[in-house]
Every structure is written in structure tokens, then in C-alpha cells.
């Protein structure tokens, strides 16, 4: 009965590869997010989707492409992986886009680029 789930939990890959991280929420929420937590523990927003529409797009390299096939899913595809992409990636969701809506986070995906 996991609310926000991510797969895989761990991902180890070589530089230059392309990889995807999947996120699913079963809360019936309209809005989903991707956050990146780097080695310095900064947790920064990357993208936000509301009803499959891109709402927030921070200054993220265009090697990162989110895709939302439906309201319950927001996947993150990363092309040409670089060492600096190593981080923990968190997916989150909230009921709507209202600024006071609580965001519910997934367990994170630890990506290691060698």
C-alpha cells in the first residue's frame, strides 16, 4: 500500500549511458515532482507536473527529460549520464498545485555514475 513508489531503488551505471527512473503514486494526486539531493545534501526541485502538464522546470540540463504518461506516473529519463548526475532522486506528489498542499515523497533512487 505504498503511497509514492520509485523504481529502481539503486542504479549503478557507466558514464554516457541512458537510464530511466520510474515513479508511481496511488494517492489520486494531480501534481507530481522530481527532486535531486546531491552529495552536499541539498534537496532541489527539478520538475513539477500537474495533470500531465509541465508546470515547473528548473535550470536542469536538457539531458533530463520527465515524462508523465498519466496522472499517477512521472518518469525521469536521463541521457548521456555524467559523473555529476550521481545523487539521490526523489519523486513526490501533492493533491493539487496549491502552494500549501503537502508533498508526499517516495523513498528515493540512489544513482551512481561510474
Amino acid at each position: 500500500d505504498t503511497a509514492v513508489s520509485q523504481t529502481p531503488k539503486y542504479l549503478v551505471t557507466q558514464m554516457g549511458n541512458d537510464k530511466s527512473i520510474k515513479c508511481e503514486q496511488n494517492l489520486g494526486h494531480d501534481t507530481m515532482y522530481w527532486y535531486k539531493q546531491d552529495s552536499k545534501k541539498f534537496l532541489k526541485i527539478m520538475f513539477s507536473y500537474n495533470n500531465k502538464e509541465l508546470i515547473i522546470n528548473e535550470t536542469v540540463p536538457n539531458r533530463f527529460s520527465p515524462k508523465s504518461p498519466d496522472k499517477a506516473h512521472l518518469n525521469l529519463h536521463i541521457n548521456s549520464l555524467e559523473l555529476g548526475d550521481s545523487a539521490v532522486y526523489f519523486c513526490a506528489s501533492s493533491v493539487e498545485l496549491r502552494r500549501t498542499d503537502t508533498q508526499y515523497f517516495g523513498p528515493g533512487t540512489r544513482l551512481t555514475v561510474l
Binding site: K40, K41, I45, I56, L97, R99, T100, F105, G106, G108
Partner: protein, 115 residues
């Protein structure tokens, strides 16, 4: 440009005593603040929030205080319990982001509650 700062990376408190976690911010346009709690290998979990129009919000053992003039907020946990041992993140929203829920996080404070 770190707009939300948690200057204490760790804090150790004895069970039953008060835990006080601090957070400072620089962006005067922040109007909503949240605390999240994170256990190892899990995502952050919402704990408590406060709007900038208030200076205190209480929920059970957890109280958040906001001092707008000092751009400072704190989370008080009373009494502290071993299960409170976790990393606590302070987060804030910028009023200028309109309806978009964009959170700016601090780097977290690791709280350890000892027996």
C-alpha cells in the same frame, strides 16, 4: 545561493528533554514554511508547517516558531523520544511562485535522541 540554512548538521538530546532545531532563511518573499522528517532509506515525511502570518503552530509534541524579523524559525520537540531520531529538513515556499508548489530545502539537521 543557499536561501534556507540549517547551520547545525547534528544534534544530540536525551530522551524526555526538549529538542530545538533551528533554520534561517534569507529570502524575504518566503511566506510558508514546513518541516520534514527523514529516516534512512526513506523519503522525507511532512511534519508541521506555518504560514508567515502566524508566529507559532503546535501539533502534539511538535511546535514551530517563526520570527519573521529575524528570518528564523525553529522546531521544538517536547518531550523527545528515541523514535524522533532522524534528519529534519526545513523548507520554504516563495510567495512569487503563484500556485506552483516549489519548495526550497535546507540541508537538514540529524537529531539523535539518546536513552
Amino acid at each position: 545561493d543557499q536561501q534556507v540554512k540549517q547551520n547545525s548538521p547534528s544534534l544530540s538530546v536525551q530522551e524526555g528533554r526538549i529538542s530545538i532545531l533551528n533554520c534561517d532563511y534569507t529570502n524575504s518573499m518566503f511566506d510558508y514554511f514546513l518541516w520534514y522528517k527523514k529516516y534512512p532509506a526513506e523519503g522525507p515525511t511532512f511534519l508541521i508547517s506555518i504560514s508567515s502570518i502566524k508566529d507559532k503552530n503546535e501539533d502534539g509534541r511538535f511546535t514551530v516558531f517563526l520570527n519573521k524579523s529575524a528570518k528564523h524559525l525553529s522546531l521544538h520537540i517536547v518531550p523527545s523520544q528515541p523514535g524522533d531520531s532522524a534528519v529534519y529538513f526545513c523548507a520554504a515556499r516563495d510567495a512569487r511562485t503563484g500556485t506552483a508548489s516549489k519548495l526550497t530545502f535546507g540541508t537538514g539537521t540529524r537529531l539523535q535522541v539518546t536513552l
